[in-house]
């Protein structure tokens, strides 16, 4: 009996569209078309996407006055919870990839987006995520030009995983990367650290703080463009994601074979983040950000860079010849210690 009913149900489309993602939404049939036409196309509407071809065909050099090299990057986004104070997985998926392009000095142009949806995800939640991606893309000045959707069985995913790939254009003469870092460069950060990690942790663990901490999730491309326009010489940029400032600076120190000496009291961390970190036994220098970067600039560019970045930015240290490949932190007390990469995620301490 029941198998008859199932056969009937699949032969006759239901009257009401489902309110959750179903395996059929990834099956290549009518449901998938409904999902694409009902959710993705209206949000991301642009001529390239609406052409609905197997590939997006785009101009890499968007107008005759633009020249330069192409920057390409890809990143996958998994975050629990999908929505957190100050952002959601959709904003992260757009800004994260845009920021990776910006770190090469590229002007972001196009994004692709691939979604792995878990059966049972509320369509309302998916709509919210997609609309948030649309807003983030508008904010960052990029178009989402092609995409893909797959659905996995319930329990095989965390609601939704998103992979975005970005294409950008690096203006002629711009060359930013660890290979340009040299002793004497100043180390700056674009703003205070650790907000994103603590915002996500507070929701995930059900921790309520007296002053809510919002994610710092933001696009950095316009900020980098402004620095370039102001004539700041940028040797290296790195956005501070997983592993926070500590991971970014260790990677650069190793790649560039230089030492980094930081002045701990100069590193901006907001009061609520410091308080939460004290409480949980975490070090804010290892906590993730999603809208902050560290910059290595020659001494002559420091003032202009700080003026362009605005009031949250700070000079936190310098690149040194001593202790190559090691980041050393000078504490407010006058002592010092190494700022190392962690084995894995930071774990809250017993007491």
């Amino acid at each position: 009996m029941s198998s008859d009913r199932e056969r009937l149900a699949s032969a006759c489309p239901t009257q009401h569209p489902p309110s959750t993602v179903q395996l059929a939404h990834g099956g290549g049939g009518r449901r998938m078309r409904q999902l694409i036409e009902g959710v993705f196309l209206p949000a991301f509407a642009n001529p390239t996407l609406l052409a609905r071809h197997d590939s997006a065909v785009v101009d890499v050099v968007p107008d005759v006055t633009s020249r330069g090299r192409v920057a390409l990057t890809t990143d996958s986004y998994v975050v629990k919870p999908l929505f957190f104070p100050g952002g959601d997985i959709g904003r992260l998926a757009v800004f994260g990839t845009v920021n990776d392009l910006a770190m090469a000095g590229a002007r972001p142009l196009h994004l692709t987006a691939a979604f792995i949806l878990e059966e049972g995800l509320a369509l309302a939640a998916l709509r919210r995520i997609v609309e948030s991606m649309r807003d983030a893309a508008t904010e960052a000045g990029v178009a989402i030009v092609t995409g893909d959707t797959k659905v996995v069985d319930r329990g095989k995913g965390d609601g939704v995983f998103i992979t975005t790939t970005g294409v950008g254009l690096v203006p002629p003469g711009v060359d930013i990367g660890p290979h340009r870092v040299q002793p004497g460069d100043a180390v700056l950060v674009s703003g205070d650290l650790g907000r994103h990690g603590i915002a996500v942790l507070s929701v995930r663990e059900g921790l309520a703080f007296a002053s809510p901490i919002e994610s710092d999730c933001a696009a950095l491309a316009s900020c980098v463009a402004a620095l370039l326009a102001a004539g700041v010489t940028l040797h290296c940029l790195r956005d501070l994601t997983r592993g926070g400032l500590a991971a970014a600076l260790n990677e650069i120190a190793m790649d560039a074979n230089v030492g980094v000496l930081l002045d701990e009291p100069a590193i901006p961390v907001s009061e609520p983040v410091r308080g939460a970190c004290e409480l949980l036994g975490l070090d804010p220098l290892h906590v993730a950000c999603e809208g902050r970067m560290t910059l290595m600039v020659p001494a002559a560019s420091v003032e202009r860079a700080l003026a362009t970045l605005g009031s949250g930015a700070a000079r936190i240290g310098q690149v040194v010849e001593a202790h190559p490949r090691v980041v050393v932190l000078k504490t407010g007390l006058g002592g010092s210690h190494t700022l190392d990469l962690l084995a894995g995620e930071q774990l809250p301490r017993i007491c």
Partner: protein, 367 residues
């Protein structure tokens, strides 16, 4: 940040360092007992601010480090059972037992949760009556009252699916063991402030008297530690050996009497094996027979097999202040936080892990 920044002031620190320099006339070795203090000393680079006469030895007060291997093996076995939701503080998850750690069990499908309090684990048990919720109750006198509270509440509320895997340890017996060693190197102690907030200072009076050692109950911020060191050095230079209290803002002489009553209601003092130190008499806490219903080892019929410590590891000597982490040939090479050989490399508060992570000047050339 209020109540924190005051205790990290560079100007005040320089005042204490000058005072320490004025009082010291010859070499002294002071042991900070608590792993949290070790962590702060290395993180703030306090050792390199002190005059060369003052050596800091890092004590046994890291609960993660001293939890014996056989308890971890029991934890791994429990966490792997399909009916069990296993709850632990975060930093226990990476501690290796004989065969893997709790992260490995989680990766294999075990239901392992990080909680911030035993009462959170009790709440999980209430919300999931079909699951057996087990809490890994480790630590010193600081964490024990909260764990006692969870057992106490579970009994009152008749929560039938909650139990504790207990491996609590006590500070004074470990200090007595260190002081009894024939090649004792410790001249004075900075006692762990948070332990004394619960226990008061009585137990330490006896130690100071019997072993002729000054003990300063000390806090965890840089200025606390510098002031504690200064107070200890003054006693040493003046030939005194009494208990003094640097951490008066948190510690009273009688401790927290309500917490101690609860401890006494739920736990009894037992001999306990310490990782790195071996078995010490009357050095641990276990659930009293009246709380047997909440004892995970009884509920699941676990037997305590003995597990061997790695032969190469000198963590026992490090925990007693007889060796420094950098004295170990495996430090930073075969033994790192990514693949720890022994107890003191596994927790953020272990002396070896703190040395590896923050590499104070003395350790910077080693790795």
């Amino acid at each position: 940040m209020k109540y924190v920044d005051e205790y990290r002031s560079g100007a005040e620190a320089r005042r204490f360092i000058a005072a320490i320099r004025r009082v010291v006339t010859r070499p002294w070795s002071i042991m900070e007992v608590c792993g949290g203090q070790t962590h702060a000393i290395v993180r703030f680079g306090i050792e390199e601010l002190l005059p060369p006469e003052v050596s800091l030895l890092h004590g046994p007060g890291c609960p993660v480090c001293v939890t014996p291997c056989e308890i971890l093996d029991q934890a791994l076995a429990l966490a792997g059972r399909p009916e069990v939701t296993f709850c632990s503080y975060g930093d226990m998850l990476r501690v290796p037992g004989s065969d893997g750690d709790l992260f490995t069990v989680k990766a294999k499908g075990g239901d392992v949760r990080v909680v911030y309090s035993a009462l959170d684990a009790l709440a999980l048990a209430r919300q999931n009556p079909a699951r057996e919720v087990v809490f890994l109750a480790v630590g010193f006198e600081t964490t024990a009252p909260a764990h006692a509270m969870a057992a106490h509440r579970a009994r009152i509320d008749r929560v039938r699916n909650f139990s504790l895997l207990v491996s609590h340890v006590l500070v004074p017996p470990a200090l007595a063991a260190i002081l009894s060693a024939s090649d004792r190197r410790v001249d004075g102690f900075l006692a762990a402030g948070h332990v004394c907030t619960i226990m008061g200072t009585d137990e330490y009076e006896r130690l100071a008297r019997d072993y002729g050692v000054p003990i300063v109950v000390t806090g965890f911020e840089p200025l606390d530690l510098l002031q504690g060191i200064h107070m200890c050095l003054r006693q040493l230079e003046e030939g005194r050996a009494v208990v003094t209290n640097q951490y008066e803002r948190a510690v009273g002489p009688r401790g927290n009497e309500a917490a101690r009553r609860l401890l006494h209601e739920v736990f009894e003092v037992v001999p306990r094996r310490w990782r790195g130190l071996g078995e010490l008499p009357a050095s641990g806490l276990a659930l009293r027979p009246s709380f047997a219903a909440f004892d995970a080892t009884l509920r699941f019929g676990m037997s305590a097999g003995a597990a061997a410590e790695p032969a190469e590891c000198i963590s026992g000597l490090v925990l007693q202040g007889r060796k420094r982490p950098t004295d170990c040939p495996a430090f930073g090479t075969r033994c790192t936080p990514d693949s720890p050989v022994g107890a003191t490399m596994v927790s953020a508060e272990g002396a070896c892990a703190a040395y590896f992570r923050y590499r104070p000047r003395s350790a910077r050339d080693v790795v």
